[in-house]
């Protein structure tokens, strides 16, 4: 059984999905939360000067989505065959597309522009992505995004909406299947506890 260590800052950000994969799979790992002041010294020892980094028996892996996909495959949370794996992948990438839009608001310093971006987010961008995910759930029978059981796709979508929902808790109210999927994940063993008790972070 390999030993896993995930190093990332003490927030959700780009480390949280991998943490959710471990929890969903009920697998142990060292959740190495790096404090900001310790990062500069640690940086040189990482493959690409960035986090998250996954250490598997001493071998290191970078790139948040690569790490999540790798773990999902290891723990059978990546679909039952190559095409289902690709379908999981596809949803992860769609979440990335949504995140890129969301990040524009986060990084915009100009207040006027920020207001415009946020308006566009709530009126155009989020409805678009909520609609795509809801449709995808319906097309797959309603319960999970890929196959008949929880996969990386469901965790990715759950994780992708965490920060938006924190800022606007009602945003998913007209998307019943997506809402139900969130509740379903929150009711699962180990990951349910983790989600209930994890500390709140802005991102």
């Amino acid at each position: 059984m390999p030993t896993y260590k995930l190093s990332y800052f003490d927030l959700r950000g780009r480390g949280e999905l991998a943490r959710l994969v471990f929890k969903a799979a009920q697998r142990d790992f060292e959740d190495d939360r790096v404090q900001r002041e310790d990062w500069p010294t640690l940086k040189a020892s990482t493959p690409f000067g960035q986090m998250p980094v996954l250490d598997v028996d001493g071998k290191k892996l970078a790139q948040s989505n690569t790490i999540s996909r790798f773990l999902a495959r290891e723990f059978n949370l990546a679909g039952k065959d190559s095409f289902e794996q690709a379908q999981c992948d596809q949803y992860l990438e769609l979440v990335e597309d949504m995140f890129k839009e969301f990040a524009k608001a986060f990084f915009e310093k100009d207040e006027e522009k920020k207001k415009e971006i946020n308006k566009n987010l709530s009126e155009v961008v989020f409805p678009k992505f909520l609609g795509l995910f809801e449709k995808a759930l319906e097309a797959n029978g309603g319960s999970f995004l890929v196959g008949n059981s929880l996969s990386l796709a469901d965790l990715g979508v759950y994780n992708g909406f965490d920060t938006p929902l924190q800022q606007n808790p009602k945003m998913m109210d007209s998307y019943p299947k997506l809402k139900a999927l969130r509740s379903r994940i929150e009711g699962m063993p180990t990951i349910g506890d983790y989600l209930k008790n994890r500390k709140v972070s802005d991102i």
Partner: protein, 216 residues
């Protein structure tokens, strides 16, 4: 053998890595290219097709009629099908790590491409690419090649001693930057050799030499 169709604009863009994968694997596919009106930058065919695509976006890969979206997903799926993604889960992750990193580079270069209004800003972005971005990613790639040599892999390929999606990602991601900044690999012989290795590869040479010239 599955029947493949790749739908994308008549550009390299986000369709080219999947095309290179088909070439490298020697697998036939329908290369559906939607033509753009260069003068207006619009695509009439796309207007009618868009609503029929699962994410209203391209590229889309059709596999025996089933549709898959997202360029990186398509690339990973094809690489997996064609044995061009390493032979173990760990190797696959190493290949993906490089492909994902190259997508980060692509995103940085895209900022220059998409800045069409403010020339001063565009020049600033170009300077940032030259002084910060290219060096950072070149260093990452050279480090991997050096570590490979230390670990007994002197093949010049990024993972596992033979061509994978990682090599095609690196090759194609540098195609556009080299067009606007032709000298960036001048002091990086390992990476220049890598490009030559891809351009000389039996299954890729003809395709790369003869593929249509496109702005991106």
């Amino acid at each position: 053998m599955s029947v493949y169709k790749l739908i994308y604009f008549d550009l390299r863009g986000r369709g080219e890595i999947p095309r290179l994968l088909f070439q490298a694997a020697g697998v036939k596919y329908e290369d559906k290219r939607l033509k753009l009106d260069i003068s207006t930058g619009t695509c009439t065919e796309w207007k009618t097709l868009k609503s029929r695509m699962p994410q209203n976006a391209l590229p889309v890969l059709e596999v025996d009629g089933k549709q898959l979206s997202q360029s990186l997903t398509i690339a990973r799926y094809l690489a997996k099908e064609f044995g061009l993604i390493g032979t173990t889960n760990w190797q696959q992750a190493q290949v993906e790590q490089i492909a994902d990193t190259m997508d980060d580079l692509r995103a940085e270069v895209a900022k220059w491409i998409y800045e069409t209004e403010d020339q001063k800003k565009k020049d600033e972005i170009a300077l940032h690419l030259r002084t910060e971005i290219y060096p950072k990613f070149i260093r990452i790639l050279e480090t991997i090649l050096e570590e490979n040599k230390e670990n007994g892999n002197a093949s010049g390929y990024f993972v596992g001693g033979d061509l994978t999606l990682a090599d095609l990602s690196v090759y194609e991601t540098f195609t556009f930057p080299l067009g606007i900044h032709p000298d960036i690999l001048n002091n990086h012989p390992d990476l220049q050799e890598h490009r030559e290795r891809i351009e000389g590869h039996t299954l890729l040479a003809d395709y790369i030499k003869n593929r249509p010239e496109r702005p991106v």
